[in-house]
Subunit: 337 residues, 4 copies
């Protein structure tokens, strides 16, 4: 069985996933596309030589009998509506972050899925599919370093444009750490505090950059997360877990070692799009494979999307208050246990 996919939103990331499914992955085919800009949808079909129908909107695409699963890659504020419609139609849903723009919206999706009685939704938190993070998780789960006590991580970009605002350091940037770290240590967040180091002269006047977010988990693990989006030197994702008997750390991105001009070095990526290429492939392949094999996606769930939304809200509140703020989740439905 080939999984028949309809794509909602043919912007940059939508086209990337179309290319991926069509040229790199196995077991799925794009049969339908739609976009608020109908020309863009048609152009995508032409560019990738798809044998796919162009629909006028998400609703008609979802209701089309030929679609098994939808890919929600529209702009954020439109996600919730498509995901809800997908669930109601009993279709599988792969939704890029955010699942919804509010915690409330995420909760509504969770409730709809619970009512449906089966997991249909996977959220596009691709880092869980990165081999480095998977090795970290394996080390933690196997007690290679004993119980984890602290995590130090950093999320650095060379630069951002003027439209990037202080809260986007949470909602666009830290949100990936928010998802991957609680998964890594099988724990929930308890509190958040934000501190502002000396500001870099490379940030725009309205932006606090860098920022340091301290998260504490229910189990007492202390996470120190640096966000630095004008670091100039590269796109650099660091993560180190300190445990009772040792420390494990994400590998650097593999790159040839050079000796040249009095330096021994390797290259650092400048473009974030290069960093998780394999993880993007693997998350979508896993979405396809797990549906084909077990009838249920096995990646990040709606509940994970809800956790990310709640925690991001608290982080933004902590950015403003300067105080330690509590993270309060609703009760976790049985479906996600």
């Amino acid at each position: 069985m080939t999984l028949k996919i309809g794509v909602i939103g043919t912007g940059a990331i939508g086209r990337e996933h179309i290319r991926r499914i069509t040229n790199n992955l196995s077991g799925a085919t794009i049969v339908a596309v739609t976009d608020v800009n109908a020309e863009a949808a048609k152009a995508a079909v032409d560019n990738y030589k798809l044998n796919a129908q162009v629909f006028p909107d998400d609703k008609t695409l979802i209701e089309s009998g030929g679609v098994d699963a939808i890919l929600v890659t529209s702009w954020g504020p439109a996600h919730q509506q498509s995901v809800m419609a997908g669930i109601e139609a009993g279709k599988y849903v792969f939704c890029e972050k955010p699942l919804a723009t509010t915690a409330q919206g995420c909760m509504e999706i969770v409730q709809a899925e619970v009512r449906h009685g089966k997991k249909l939704v996977q959220v596009g938190f691709m880092r869980r599919y990165d081999q480095g993070y998977q090795q970290l998780k394996h080390a933690i789960d196997s007690k290679f370093i004993g119980e984890p006590l602290m995590i130090r991580c950093a999320h650095r970009n060379p630069e951002v444009d003027d439209k990037y605002t202080t809260d986007m350091a949470i909602t666009d940037t830290l949100v990936h750490e928010i998802d991957v770290l609680h998964w890594l240590v099988n724990d929930d967040y308890k509190s958040v505090q934000v501190a502002y180091p000396k500001k870099t002269r490379h940030a725009s006047s309205h932006l606090r950059d860098p920022q340091v977010v301290t998260l504490e988990t229910q189990g007492g693990i202390l996470i120190n997360a640096e966000i630095f989006v004008n670091c100039k030197y590269g796109y650099d994702i660091q993560c180190e877990v300190i445990g009772e008997e040792g420390v494990v750390k994400l590998p650097e991105v593999p790159s040839i070692t050079f000796r040249k001009e009095a330096q021994l070095g390797t290259h650092i990526l400048m473009d974030w799009k290069q960093r998780f290429l394999d993880a993007y492939d693997r998350e979508l392949q896993d979405f396809i494979d797990s549906i084909r094999l077990s009838g249920e996606p096995q990646g990040p769930t709606s509940w994970d999307g809800y956790i990310a939304a709640v925690t991001a809200d608290v982080c933004v509140r902590a950015q403003e208050s300067g105080r330690q703020e509590s993270v309060e989740l609703g009760e976790k439905p049985t479906l996600y246990k």
Copy 2:
């Protein structure tokens, strides 16, 4: 268009490629299989739920109208016959190493392909698809280190069984370096010499291990290649190119860094099968894609298979003589320039 592939030989590597094409890659489907053991062929079809016909032998499979390309993954001595038949039938051929067991056999394939007038054959030298080697090649081609002058490389296995003989250090092991290194520096081999360091006590009584092969290219590049197949500690592929203005070196296999029990370290693979997983995927995807896009495979050619066979023969001669031996290639047909 989906490339329809027939597989000749459903042993371990044949099944690996079937799994890869079916579950990981895009644009091809297995439509036919055969094996000297018909039960094995049928089992492969069942295991991977293929919609594929089982043929009694390579000849009937190749002549079948539904097959666009064949995958030759039978045992080495059978390769030449299948490849020749494939060329004669105008089918694309992906052939695992060796292309043929003799240089003469490889030359016959080259000549058949030249007569056919178009490249049909790709040889399974997957290292060219490894991202580390590709970065090395990019550094060399872009003159990042000036002209390359020397290469130091090592091919180490934890251990081999008793059936592994001294000449297999060339034909099974070094053959990968033989292919990838001349490609890396765009040069041909001129001479070969073999030296035997002190023997490890972990080698069987009949095996010279380690061995050091010195290859010189036409352009004067000196290559020092260590083969050490009972090194105990891991499967380890090293390659360092020393140029006029700098040195570049293959990255280590990425792995989390740990601090534990007075050591700061990373893990080394023990199993060679893990080392080039990505490269295997990429070589087959490239075989499929280049045929679909340009009607011609763009990977290692029959001529490269011939170079490997000739050079391996000279290396084995050098193993026995202890002297510097010359590498003499036939004239390179225009098709491969």
Copy 3:
């Protein structure tokens, strides 16, 4: 001119310095020793074959005409009295940490030195003499990474005994970071906060371990300092400075790289005494050389000792309060500017 040194306190560190001056360094000689245990003082003279007089107490030693400089290596509570007596006698003083056990005591020393009108005292903060820290400082001072914005550091020991209490994480352990970090960035501390991650099961029941101290400087640099004294795996000092244009990090302790048993690694020290051996040599040689060349020690001053004492007090207060606490220094005398 050879600097004639009297040693006050012949315990472990006193004897280490005697050995160092006698066997490793140039330009000084031990001419006098004293200890509360007179037998220990005599034994030190015998062991190191010193041509040195044994004095009954610090006062008589200091007043002895033959002594140019004193080494204060007695137990902490006795330091202040010896240092004050040394200053009053116009003798040079090398004092191991702490300069005095209270900030008030340090201030009295500062005032005595100011009255004397010339710097006489060097405090034993040896990290400033470590080549790694010196390279970091050079990178910062030369603006190699632009303005420093954040520092991440860790001070880890394999284990401590039961007598080690929670406040000693500051006064015995973090005190080295307290000194070296403000020197590194040419800045003063403004506030301190302490957080307690999940406790390791390897710590004694009364000890909070690990701890994370957040220090902010007057200039806004945010310092995240981990103290983890039962980390099991090694003695490990980490320091990373994140600046506007890049990051610099202390080198690991140099050690041969090994490939063995599926690991690629280096060794981590287990014994803190090995870590700063060179720095100890260099701090004392610099004490000797700077006095001989310029008549004034050029290392960490009494004022640095005072800063360390004040900051450590605030850290201990922050350990207890859980709140952010302010660091308030007295006015810096001209002598130290």
Copy 4:
């Protein structure tokens, strides 16, 4: 007892050792100097404020009653005469390389020392005192990697001047590897072969650069030694020992790690004089200490100087012949066993 040293030759290296003994080391004092240029000798005394007598020549200096040990730092062709005179006078001798300019000259020194009946001479092969090489030796001696089978090393300089000739790659450059490698593996050389890779365009017209020297030991260890004196990028000493159960490798020179401008790197030294600073200090301190403690220097002996001279001669012969050449040593006197 302070060792009273007379220095023969106050050129660059002589003055470096004077500075070292006077300012860094313990237990020795310079009491006498001489140089073919008497003004240079006087200038050295003034510059370092030595309390030392200037002698008209090596002979009178050696015969002076106040001298315990001589430092031979004159130009190479003058070494043998001073060393022989030192031995005849029963003085300790620290002689910079070469011990003598010919193997015959070295043998005469060996014979003189044997007649004297006690070791007096230490040759300035400082690498044995480098902590990296000492860690390698410890790993080998403790069988950490089993029996050593191969060594790969490289000796690279950024550039040399036009006076540097092809044979100097052996006599000035490789000679350090010649000494340190046989010491490392406790073995003697058996044969030598030299190969010339493609020449770098940065070498002067008369110079073969790089060169690769293959040495085989009596025990069968195969050594691949690269000499590359116009490598442009840095002064870089590499040494890797491959054993039956693992590999050990010299650490890189410690240097802060930086992340800047899309690179993750460390600095490589450009100036050879920085590379073995500690080793120079340690070799001379050991010369002083071992004489003071045991009445005999314990560093590289006259016999080691003889081995280096013989082996260098064979290497130069192999440079010219292109063939494998045998290393034939005289019988080792009991004094050196």
